[in-house]
């Protein structure tokens, strides 16, 4: 960039010519002479520069997080959710049963759409899993074998559900890590049985520990896979029936939901949107769904939105950080004006000894630029150090208040280093010019008379 090469020339000039070297030396000496003041005036630049580095790193990290989530999900997926309509509380007061959402009939119709290669329904409800004396509040996920593919699940033991399980309505289950650990501390879970509701299920597989995702994973809601227990969809239908009791603190209600979500995989990225439209028209038929109790999300749209906002976010962050650098620059200008006033005498002496106006301007400008340059370097050092230690810092008790789990890890955005450094020095030039010119245009006689 032009800015960087300009600065490189300046650096060469400073290092080689007498004036340059002397100017640099003097600048450093003056700064050292007033250590505290120099530091305080640099503080604005330090904060501004580290803010650029840290903010850009968070931006980079969250962008990658989101992109990874979306890509992991697969941009050829469409997710349909059951949504509880808001007017339900009034109409079913007597029964306290909420009936809504996607149905087995919907699933059958969707299965006929040719462009769909995979259809993964899931039905989710909380239930206590029991094993001898132990129990665990699990989330039961009734689903089909392809669920594992779509959500990229890894098994540490055994297997996931297979088509046979659904066909035969087998009482089998797959446990998440936490569920397994809670129920089977010393025993071998595989092959043992657990009780869900009134029925017993044999454990056929254990999942590896999973990081909880934000709501951009294989489904819309945030999923904590570790607390899950997976059973075949048809088994759930048979054993639990259509109505599920939901016991939560203080109240009891029931819900009649066939499935909470269906993840659809389309064969081709170009067919995603059209397929989405087809699904919308099927579900939108008021005979099929009189109320709006479903929602459709196309991650592909999300992806494109993310990429569009990428530039906007970066721009915004850049603006915020620039503002802080601007404030830092104003601070520097303030200090330099005071410094120039303080050194009025010195300016007079130098002028008497033969300094031209340009010599004086140069001298003070160099001082300002050295200040902002050093401030910038310190800011970069601090910012980079923070980015790399953020993970460790997050575990500190104080930090827990600021950062929730699932917030993105910052990733160093390398261009932000050169950008913020050159901006820091640029700020030095812009905000140093005025004080420097003031010094240069002082009347030497007046200056010499100054205290």
């Amino acid at each position: 960039m032009a800015l960087v090469s300009g600065l490189a020339c300046l650096a060469v000039f400073l290092a080689t010519t007498d004036k340059g070297r002397r100017g640099l030396e003097l600048a450093l000496r003056s700064l050292w002479l007033h250590k505290l003041r120099s530091f305080l005036s640099m503080l604005g630049i330090i904060i501004g520069t580290s803010a650029v580095i840290i903010l850009m790193a968070f931006g980079e990290g969250s962008e990658r997080d989101v992109l990874e989530d979306i890509k992991r999900l697969g941009t050829t997926n469409i997710i349909i959710r059951s949504v509880k309509p808001p007017d339900d509380s009034n109409t079913n007061r007597r029964q306290m049963v909420a009936t809504y959402g996607l149905t087995y009939s919907d699933l059958e119709v969707l299965a006929t759409i040719p462009s769909i290669t995979r259809l993964v329904p899931m039905r989710v409800f909380p239930q206590e899993t029991r094993r001898s004396a132990r129990s665990h509040n699990s989330r039961v996920v009734a689903t089909v074998p392809q669920y594992a593919e779509v959500n990229d699940l890894t098994l540490v033991q055994g297997r996931f559900l297979v088509p046979d399980d659904d066909e035969r309505m087998n009482n089998v289950c797959v446990l998440g890590q936490e569920t397994a650990k809670s129920l089977f501390t010393f025993e071998e879970p595989l092959g043992s049985s657990v009780k869900l509701g009134e029925f017993v299920y044999v454990v056929v597989g254990i999942l590896a520990e999973r990081m909880p995702t934000g709501g951009t994973g294989g489904s819309q809601a945030a999923e904590d896979f570790n607390q899950d227990i997976y059973i075949p969809m048809q088994t759930a239908r048979g054993r639990f029936g259509d109505r599920i009791q939901i016991r939560s603190a203080g109240s009891r209600s029931a819900e009649k939901v066939d499935m909470h979500q269906i993840t659809v995989t389309v064969e081709d990225i170009d067919k995603v949107r059209p397929t989405g439209e087809i699904i919308r028209s099927i579900l939108g038929d008021t005979d099929r769904h009189p109320r709006l109790d479903w929602a459709l999300t196309v991650p592909l749209d999300r992806l494109e939105l993310v990429e569009r906002t990428k530039a906007n976010i970066r721009q915004s962050l850049g603006i915020y950080a620039s503002i802080s650098l601007l404030v830092g620059g104003i601070g520097i200008m303030n200090v330099m004006l005071a410094t120039v006033t303080e050194r009025t005498r010195e300016v007079g002496i130098r002028r008497a000894l033969g300094a031209k106006r340009s010599d004086i301007t140069f001298q003070f400008l160099i001082e300002t630029m050295v200040q902002t340059g050093i401030g910038g370097l310190l800011g970069v050092a601090f910012g980079v150090a923070y980015v790399f230690t953020h993970a460790a810092l997050k575990t500190l008790p104080m930090a827990a208040m600021l950062f929730q789990d699932g917030s993105p890890s910052p990733i160093l955005h390398v261009p932000s280093i050169t950008w913020s450094l050159s901006t820091a020095v640029g700020v030095g030039v812009i905000f140093g010019i005025y004080p420097a010119l003031r010094a240069a245009y002082m009347d030497p006689i007046e200056a010499l008379r100054h205290v």
Binding site: D18, I349, G354, S358
Partner: protein
């Protein structure tokens, strides 16, 4: 003898608040090489203004000022800065050394503004000048660590580094005690004896008596211009290595 400076019909007017001050009302003066001139007069006489003009820190409103043969009265700011660094040496009442610099570095300053490359040769000269004024053992000290007299000596050495045509001194002993004043004036006299041209502003007769020509001013004009025979210099006490002046000057 060559003329160092020639001033003819010099007027200086400047506005102060809303009124105009006519500080110099037609001054004529010539100074030749090797002279030692005192400029005296009460406050408001114009002696400081004249010194400022001589020092190219101020420009005359009317009249001419020839320095070393060049007419400097109409020169621009940059040119005047150049003239100062090449032809003039300054000694101030308040020494005016730069606090961040050591003795040697202070002496070097006029060379920087001349644009001369600072090398071992120029450094050796500065060291020589420091020795000349008796501060060869204090080269790395900062002004804060020196007494008034010592600081003034550094200032004198500084005024010599660029081999000036003319040394201008503004109350050089104003801030010093009698004994130290004596030492400083002895030094200046010795410099003058080896050929340096000095113009000095002072309000003390005792100090003026060290010079060889006393010019008195009043109300913006020269009142009198008389020769003076100074007392012989007291050579007792540690002598300064004046032979260094040959090489340094």
């Amino acid at each position: 003898m060559t003329e160092v400076l020639r001033i003819e019909s010099l007027h200086k007017r400047y506005s102060h608040d809303s009124s105009e001050v006519h500080a110099l009302k037609g001054v004529n003066i010539v100074v030749k090489q090797g002279e030692f001139v005192s400029l005296m007069g009460p406050s408001g006489s114009g002696k400081s203004t004249l010194l400022n003009v001589l020092g190219c820190l101020d420009r005359p409103t009317e009249g001419s000022y020839h320095l070393g043969g060049e007419d400097v009265s109409r020169m621009g700011d940059d040119q005047l800065s150049s003239i100062r660094s090449r032809y003039l040496g300054f000694i101030f009442q308040q020494y005016n050394l730069l606090p961040q610099y050591t003795v040697v570095e202070n002496i070097e300053i006029p060379l920087i503004y001349q644009g001369i490359r600072l090398d071992s040769e120029s450094r050796a000269r500065c060291v020589g000048l420091a020795e000349l004024v008796g501060l060869g053992h204090r080269l790395d000290h900062r002004p804060m660590q020196l007494s008034g007299g010592q600081q003034q000596r550094v200032a004198i050495a500084r005024s010599l580094v660029n081999r000036p045509q003319l040394i201008l001194a503004d109350e050089p002993t104003g801030n010093l005690d009698t004994k130290t004043s004596h030492e400083i004036m002895t030094l200046l006299s010795k410099l003058n004896m080896s050929g340096k041209t000095i113009v000095m502003v002072t309000h003390e007769n005792d100090i003026a008596k060290w010079s060889k020509r006393i010019v008195r001013m009043r109300d913006g004009v020269i009142e009198s211009d008389e020769a003076n025979t100074p007392d012989p210099i007291d050579e007792s006490g540690p002598g300064l290595p004046m032979h260094l002046l040959e090489e340094a000057a």
